[in-house]
């Protein structure tokens, strides 16, 4: 299961998607909304995704895990929209015969998810400001578009 959703993530659906009699371990990861970024208080987060491409890229990550560890039961779901502090933004489940591979594959899935899956996070600060997050910084003072003459009604 590879899914972008606006619904609350409980984790049950990804766990159920990977369970099976040959599993000796199911590793489940939740990403949750933290109340601060580097000490600056966060009010809430807003996530936006490009759903069809995001789900395709999640499936590619699962294929990479199959190639590397031989594990074929991986599930990922990422929420979009406004999320409050403590809510689950992403859940990943990996089933494996033994826990070591499961832990490694689950970490790999999250690392890759953050690299190649088109999902964006906007931090809404407690002081009322908001900005889109990029990997090593945030877009401060992003430039405004210049309207061309033909666009001005």
């Amino acid at each position: 299961m590879f899914k972008i959703t606006s619904e609350v993530i409980t984790g049950e659906e990804v766990r159920e998607a990977v369970e099976g009699p040959d599993a000796g371990a199911v590793v489940l990861f939740f990403g949750t909304v933290r109340n601060n970024t580097d000490g600056r208080p966060v009010e809430c987060l807003e996530y936006e995704a490009y759903p069809p491409m995001a789900e395709k890229k999640m499936a590619e990550i699962a294929q990479e895990i199959s190639d590397k560890w031989g594990l074929d039961r991986v599930a990922m779901v990422h929420r979009v929209g406004k999320l409050e502090i403590g809510e689950v933004s992403v859940a990943v489940a990996v089933a494996s015969p033994h826990r070591k591979d499961g832990f490694e594959a689950c970490k790999y899935a999250m690392d890759r998810l953050k690299q190649i899956v088109p999902i964006w996070k906007r931090e809404v600060w407690a002081d009322g400001e908001a900005e889109w997050v990029k990997p090593d910084a945030v877009f401060f003072d992003a430039p405004k578009p210049h309207k061309t003459a033909s666009q001005i009604d």
Binding site: E48, K114, I119, D136, K144
Partner: protein, 84 residues
């Protein structure tokens, strides 16, 4: 030819629209789209080095040639996670 161009996150905000249809000349590439956007939003060039593009849900480069009906997207840096 006609293609659909989608804008997300910071691009959506800057351009004040989430998608549009564009009519392009035959042989157009993603660069053709970027040049057209630059006329409207000159500072977009500053984002090019950190931004990626996709065609039909697959990452592409500015040299990727486009075809009728393609779905192109500007992909600003994804959520990332400097802390692991």
């Amino acid at each position: 030819m006609n293609v659909t161009v989608k804008y997300f996150a910071v691009c959506h905000e800057m351009l004040d629209r989430s998608e549009e249809e564009m009519e392009l000349p035959d042989g157009a590439t993603i660069k053709t789209i970027l040049e057209r956007l630059e006329e409207e939003w000159p500072e977009i060039a500053e984002f090019y080095e950190v931004m990626q593009m996709s065609v039909n849900w697959e990452y592409a480069t500015e040299h990727t040639e486009l075809a009728e009906g393609d779905e192109v997207a500007l992909i600003p840096p994804v959520t990332g996670g400097n802390n692991v």
